[in-house]
Symmetry: C2
Subunit: 306 residues, 2 copies
């Protein structure tokens, strides 16, 4: 494995190479390069289109699977369909993520369509990091689509972050929750330069006792532009709390367009959003400790996106 | 004046007849029926289309003007253009409002397009109540459009409420604020039966130090449907706070789609929205004081929309 590959894997998945003895799938430049299944986690390549099926056995416990994607060739346009079948009562951690290293002048693009079928009482932790780097002026483009179907009393926590270096992203997330299903989404996004990020999240709370929490935090620097459009729809006795906080810097622009809809008398839905610059008291305090203005800003942003 | 007219005027404008010696314009069933100007508040009928120009002299203080509209004929469709020119430094209270009494089976509709030109340092208080009544099955429809241009350091407080009995409403409000301009909007809305209410509010904060506060409260009963779409756009060093709270009852449905956009690093914009049913602790407490469930609900709703 080349050093560039290792660095990308480290950044997006916290690993430095193939995961021996663990469920693992590495996709590089539009091709599967390494794949292992385990007794409880089967990874099968799709036969009709690019992508894999990840099948987690019912009642399997403390399983984990890494499915990183890296792009290092300039000009690659990769589209992949990954389907996750999580058996009843299973407990699994899924580490996805995509890193693009683009030293060329052509755009590199990865569009991942992830569909989750989460069985009754199952628990899923999903971690997805997006990152771009490289000296070329070719764009780094990542368009993730995430679809989640949650069965009765299943729980899921999704940590989706765009660390840096992604020039353009259109994030689409769609979920439906059955009775007692619980979803927590942590979304973190940082844009700089002339980057553009759009995030649409739509969650239908269909079952009695379903609950949703979305915590979205973003930082927009330079001339970047961000648009958030989270939508929580309560169709039953349910709870939803959507919170979007954005720090705006330089000439950046941020729009937050949450939508909360209650179609049932027992639906309780709350939304909070705030956009503003870095708290100047915090900046001054850190500067009195000897930090420069830009160091102080970095500390505050790191804390905010932690 | 007929008793029906008097009752409508009482409900929408707190008056029981013509306002002698005060600036006043009464429109009934698509016709102006009474009009007075005062030295500082001129009311002129438009010559090119239905409606009036209301011109408040610069530096005039503690002025007030009543411009109620009533519809009592079934099947009337009335559209009116009212323009308000508020001179520099003037201070005026404007009491508008529309009441429909419809005993027939044809729809009665009033569409009022109000445009405000608020001069430097002027202060405007605007009160608008919408109300419908009558035994007929003809719909009562009110579609107000409110456009406000605020000059430097002007201030405006708008209290817009839909009390009850309005079958369908599409409320459109559009505002632009120059430096130091301050707008406070209180919106109150109650729907019942199969009523539908849409409210779009768009405010552009263009000048340094402009500020906006929107406090929207609504109650949706029976099978009624409400959609709120407030939009605050910060194009300069400015502050905006948008708050939407809705109580949902029975089979009603409520959607809240606020949009906050910061296009300037010093724009600080906050939004909060909540939709839920009546607090059951409050209900139980009032019932222990001897109120029936419906009486207790009425007390809570009155307090919420007060």
């Amino acid at each position: 494995m080349e050093q560039t590959d290792k660095n990308l894997l480290k950044t997006i998945a916290g690993i430095s190479g193939f995961q021996v003895g663990r469920a693992f799938n590495l996709r590089k430049d539009g091709q599967g390069v390494e794949r292992h299944s385990t007794p409880n986690v089967k990874i099968n390549p799709k036969t009709d289109k690019p992508g894999i099926d990840i099948i987690v056995a019912a009642h399997a416990q403390k399983e984990s699977v890494h499915i990183p994607v890296i792009l290092t060739q300039s000009g690659i346009k990769d589209m992949v369909y990954n389907d996750f079948y999580i058996g009843e009562g299973a407990d699994v951690e899924i580490i996805a993520g995509c890193g693009i290293h683009n030293d060329g002048c052509d755009a590199s693009q990865h569009d991942g369509i992830h569909t989750f079928y989460i069985g009754k009482n199952a628990h899923v932790t999903y971690i997805e990091k997006h990152y771009g780097e490289g000296d070329g002026n070719g764009a780094r483009i990542l368009n993730p689509t995430t679809v989640v179907h949650m069965e009765k009393n299943s729980t899921c926590e999704m940590m989706m972050s765009q660390i840096k270096g992604v020039d353009s992203t259109i994030r689409k997330t769609q979920m439906d929750l059955a009775a007692g299903a619980k979803m927590v989404i942590h979304e973190k996004l940082m844009t700089h330069g002339k980057q553009e990020a759009h995030s649409d999240v739509e969650v239908e709370l269909n079952g009695k006792g379903a609950s949703l929490q979305i915590i979205s935090r973003s930082v927009a620097k330079d001339e970047s532009r961000q648009v958030f459009h989270p939508k929580a729809i309560g169709n039953n006795d349910c709870r939803a709390h959507v919170q979007c906080d954005s720090i705006i810097m330089d000439q950046a622009r941020v729009s937050s367009i949450p939508e909360i809809s209650a179609n049932h008398v027992d639906a309780e839905i709350i939304h909070e959003a705030a956009i503003g610059k870095i708290n100047s008291d915090q900046l001054i305090k850190l500067q009195t400790f000897g930090l420069s203005e830009s160091e102080a800003e970095a500390v505050i942003i790191d804390g905010f996106l932690k």
